[in-house]
Amino acid sequence: MLKTRIIPCLDVKDGRVVKGVRFEGLRDAGDPVEAAKVYDAAGADELCFLDITASREARGTLLDIVSRTAEACFMPLTVGGGVRTVEDVRALLLAGADKVAINTAAVKDPDLVARAAEKFGAQCIVVAIDAKRVSPPGTPAAWEIFTHGGRDPTGIDAVAFARLVAEKGAGELLVTSMDKDGTRSGYDLALTRAISDAVTVPVIASGGVGGLDDLVAGVAQGGASAVLAASIFHFGQATIAEAKAHMAAAGLAMRLDSPASSARTPL
């Protein structure tokens, strides 16, 4: 039986984890590769790096991180941020990413998704959708795509865009509520559900996790196939094992394999 995935997400800027990761015994809280090793040993189902580096010149740093992570971790890795061309996708896949997330570039040119999927297969093309609710209270819910970290409105309906990119060949959608991101008040479940119901590809819920019940709700109410969270894991509020146990107790199918292949931990 296919299991619900838990995906810790690391925001990376100029080769460093933004705000750091607070684990006991971690030598360097800002090193994405160190953090990745910890999550691999902890039994995370996948890992996600979102690169928020502004400059194009720093691309090599990201590729190096991806390559070192792929060599150290035997778990699937999704990498996003700044992906603009088919060549960008290829470079990340060759560095060792298993999936590549496209965000702004897919909004500007949805055919990029088609070109990348035809080249590399739909299974490795993720479209990251950042959406804000734009419907006034009391009217039917509607969400709009925003780019550049939620600053720039596009006028594009999020659910219609989700359908479009799924038809173009996206293998998965990473749906982030820009209203909820950073609030620790739970996912925008209506948004997650609306998109999950609109497409046949898996949806990852993202943005707003404050506690373990939010992860359960993302699947049970939001219809997500996977749940992404950052701070609750990075700052030690919950371990991956606790999150899995909590979700399993709520009746969700989780992968509870003891994670490492040997007793050795990367710490």
């Binding site: 060599e71 778990m75 060792g96 298993d98 080249k119 590399f120 297969g121 299974q123 490492a260 292949s261």
Partner: protein, 219 residues
């Protein structure tokens, strides 16, 4: 026992360092004296003791990549069929063992495990495609590659990410299936040739155990 050479075929299909590291680690942890070699050289493949054909991406694109290396298919054929070396295809590398792939266009495969690679169509329309994530394996028969690996609903998990799956003409070629709104071929084998739809190099415990079994396999 002399050091064995394990050739992982590099034909531009991405992400091979991770696979190489997984093979190196599995060899180290299982006490296997193997030299893991990422190679695009047909001579190395033809002479290798074991051969691994990875594959990530679209079927036709992988086939083109393989064809673009002069002599590679002949070298693989020599290793697998001439010398009878253990041969493992991974993901699209496994699908290429089939007669043909139906993704985007009809593309001929190697035909070593006759059958078609067609779209996954779960009986339950609520199930998402791709089949993406961790699933358990249900063995169809005993096989050395599964030795010592806990399978079934309470067993270990393998990592899948695919929209197409191999359906062998001969059901005896299937060693294990995953279930996702119906059976999905997960592991095939015929003689010294085997293939996994899932990614052993991404499958943590199960993956490293399967790779170790492959490194010790004497078909």
């Amino acid at each position: 026992m002399s050091t064995e050479t394990v050739a992982i075929i590099d034909y531009g299909s991405g992400n091979l360092h991770s696979a190489a590291k997984a093979f190196e680690r599995a060899a180290r942890e299982s006490g296997c004296d193997a030299r893991i070699c990422l190679t695009a050289d047909p001579d190395v493949v033809a002479k290798a003791d074991r051969v691994v054909l990875p594959g990530v991406g679209a079927y036709a694109d992988c086939r083109r990549g393989l064809d673009a290396v002069p002599g590679m298919i002949e070298a693989m054929t020599q290793a697998a069929h001439g010398a009878g070396r253990p041969f493992l295809g991974i993901c699209v590398g496994m699908q290429l063992l089939a007669s043909r792939g139906l993704e985007y266009a009809i593309t001929p495969g190697l035909g070593w495990i006759p059958g078609d690679v067609g779209p996954i169509q779960p009986a339950d329309p609520a199930l998402k495609v791709p089949h993406m994530g961790w699933n358990t394996l249900r063995p169809a028969r005993d096989h050395a590659l599964l030795a010592g690996i806990p399978t079934g609903e309470d067993g270990l998990h393998a990592y899948f990410v695919h929209s197409y799956a191999l359906i062998p003409e001969n059901p005896d070629d299937v060693v294990a299936r995953a279930y996702y709104g119906g059976p999905v071929t997960a592991l095939v084998a015929r003689g010294n040739i085997a293939g996994t739809q899932f990614h052993p190099e991404k499958s943590q415990r199960l993956g490293l155990a399967l790779i170790a079994n492959f490194l010790h396999w004497r078909p």
